[in-house]
């Protein structure tokens, strides 16, 4: 095999995630104009980008309550992509799992924790009964938001369950990736609690040191 060298044309130009700075989240009062009642708001950032405002959305939880991300401005928000049928999610929420008690611990510190389920109709993890049963079994106090069209998941680039995102008090996305480096509780090397570290940095008002990590888990079951 021959590898042919190409002539360099210009210096490498790098995009800086922090440069683009559209307005941070602002509550849109139900988005009667320019927005949609469910999913990502039309006036919001289309794709999540670290350091930029997190795409705003409105989703309904299992009890029928609407949640606008913008309503949580001023608070740190954790978004957890969720599928109760995914064995990685099961392992993370059951005994000794990384997510078993984390939401409760951080709720006590004022952090808002939202599970988002982007499983499409007819695919694994979809359905109120399935999710309600898991929420009860795993004693989840935080809401599970239904994103069956997948628009919010795709806007955030959610690939796996679990896939974690942290939005800071200013509404900017400051972390995306795995809860830790230990799928099924088996770390590759020494345990690195990525999400806890990111939340510690946010709480301390510091820049998140490791803002992007490789997520692990099942694929999000978007509509085909």
């Amino acid at each position: 095999m021959i590898i042919r060298r190409l002539t360099p044309l210009a210096l490498l130009v790098f995009a800086s995630p922090g440069l683009a700075a559209p307005p941070v989240l602002a509550h849109c009062g139900g988005c009667g104009t320019g927005g949609s009642s469910h999913g990502v708001h039309k006036h919001s950032s289309k794709k999540a980008k670290l350091g930029a405002p997190a795409p705003d959305f409105t989703l309904t939880d299992l009890a029928g309550k609407k949640h606008d991300l913008s309503n949580y401005k001023g608070k740190t928000v954790v978004l957890e992509w969720f599928n109760p049928g995914c064995p990685f999610v099961v392992a993370a929420h059951e005994k000794d799992g990384v997510l078993q008690t984390m939401a409760k611990e951080y709720a006590a510190k004022g952090v808002v924790w939202l599970a988002v389920n982007s499983s499409a109709v007819g695919r694994q993890g979809h359905g109120k009964a399935t999710n309600s049963k898991a929420a009860k079994k795993w004693k989840m106090d935080h809401p599970i938001l239904v994103d069956e069209k997948g628009s919010v998941g795709k806007a955030y680039g959610a690939k796996t369950t679990p896939h974690m995102f942290v939005v800071n008090k200013a509404g900017k996305l400051v972390y995306k990736g795995a809860p830790d480096n230990a799928p099924y509780g088996n770390p590759s090397g020494s345990l690195e609690p990525y999400l806890a570290n990111a939340l510690a940095d946010v709480a301390a008002g510091k820049k998140v040191r490791k803002s992007s990590t490789k997520a692990w888990g099942c694929s999000v079951k978007y509509a085909r």
């Binding site: 095999m1 190409l6 360099p8 044309l9 790098f14 795993w138 795709k154 799928p183 694929s219 509509a223």
Partner: protein, 284 residues
Amino acid sequence: MRAALPGLMSGLAFLACTASPESVSQPQAPPPVASEPAPVTEKSQAVSAPRKPNEQVAMSVTWAQIEGSGPPQLVAQLEAIPEWHIYWAHPGDAGLPTRFRLQRGAAELPHDTRMPLPKRMTSAGDIVSYGYEGKTHFFIDSEQARSGGEFSLRADWLACKEICIKGKATVTVPPPPKRGSQPTDTMTSDWQEVPKGKAIKWQREGPAWVLEVATAKRVELYPHGALQLALDQTRPPYCKGKRCRIKLPPSALQENPTLAYTLRIENTDTTHGLEADFLKGIQP
């Protein structure tokens, strides 16, 4: 009931194998870590465990004579049932690497697993994974395994279709014979697709790094963990035809000790793989 493996494996090492799914689509407890290896039922006879109705993957292992005059090579064959797949060492956006563990008594035997080129699989939501369907051979190199008595070989995989099920199998492997079995055609084909290490130089082109490969057909780039993360903003295809083009943020070059990848190079009649590290191959 046990079924005999193909005749090519007879007269050689072989083993009893237990495979078990560990998780299903409904919430369940994480699978137990330990499992008892099945005993060798008939040394030097090819045997396999019957596949239970709910199993997606079966394992068999043999010592094969992959390279004519070399020592026998330990080869694990994993066979997924139709429509299911298991994952490469670098599974991509989702999945879990297939892993092997060798133990003699309580002692872990160090080893190196060489996997053939995977298949690139995409699913809704621009989710890209790398894995294997059907029958795949994994080549396990362990000097310690070759030099002692019998040992156990455990495979752990994640089998996926619409849902994913974690599974494992453990076999007891006898010491290697003086000469391994004749490799099957699929084993030889998989061996030829095991990527070989190579230094590969990339060139800058505007904001991107570019590699052009002389091949009759096409080239694909499969990023390993750190490089995949760095490429998150520039989704595949990284390669079009015979040309690969990637953009990396400066942080990727500064923060990562390695940015490894595998190239799949397809010619008219053959496919082969090269393994390289971007950081060692960019133009100074």
